[in-house]
Symmetry: C2
Subunit: 156 residues, 2 copies
């Protein structure tokens, strides 16, 4: 039997002692995140939307006219990082930069009709993906997980 080159759980690698990492939240966080990211990538392969891009689309959709800086702050990334993200979405005709009339330094972001349609289509796909990721968890456990994740590193 050919060994799975990448084994999400790592259970097939019983020959290697990983007990030193077993208790580490950071380690399991990385493994879980990699697995979820990979599934998201596959789920959205046809739409060519990354998790980060989805967050941006979803937040613009829910906050029409949002500025790039506010969006970056809300997602916890630098505003300089946001530039390229918006560039990409704008080039694809999903997002519009509209010069603000009240503050000419700032751009008001909106979804184009195409962007709105795509974002609406993405919603159920993300739900499916999420359901797949949380397959082994019941609703209570999923809620607990989200709650615990929100509290991890909160006081750093």
């Amino acid at each position: 039997m050919a060994k799975n080159p990448i084994d999400p759980t790592g259970d097939a690698c019983s020959e290697v002692d990983r007990s030193v990492l077993e208790g580490l939240v950071g380690y399991h966080l990385r493994r879980a995140q990699a697995a979820v990211f990979e599934d998201f990538r596959k789920t959205m392969a046809a739409e060519k939307i990354t998790p980060g891009q989805f967050g941006v689309l979803a937040l613009i959709g829910a906050n029409d006219g949002l500025s790039q800086s506010a969006l970056a702050r809300a997602l916890g990334i630098e505003r300089s990082t946001m530039v390229a993200v918006i560039d990409g979405l704008e080039t694809r005709g999903l997002v519009d930069r509209r010069a603000s009339e009240t503050d000419r330094r700032s751009n008001e972001l909106t979804l184009t009709p195409t962007g709105r349609t795509l974002t609406a289509k993405l919603g159920p796909m993300v739900e499916d993906h999420e359901a797949r990721m949380a397959e082994g968890l019941d609703a209570d456990e999923k809620a607990i997980l989200v709650d615990l994740l929100k509290r991890v590193g909160a006081g750093a």
Copy 2:
């Protein structure tokens, strides 16, 4: 008051509606991972060790003579990716590649004395970091979090 440019919890951005992302495990996973990674980076700034490098050192320390491929599988990354990681640690004199006598394709990895000393020093630092990250959680909650993380994406 200048706003914190990057706000781990995002609580300071109440002007932005993030409810669309609130229920998503993937979103909270990414936020938590970013916060933990950042704290790890700061904690290990003096030692210049990344989370990935720590995992490699810890696993070699616990599995002397491990091959690069087995190590990559155990950590869930490609063996081609592992090459540069080991290159870096070997250049720094922390890890040794020893040609296997039984299988000449394969390298047996060992910690050098320096590597062993550093890895031993890193242990308590990682514990401190972990404690800081789980500050808001009691022991039970931390155990639950680890358990839930192990089950996320397991059946993907």
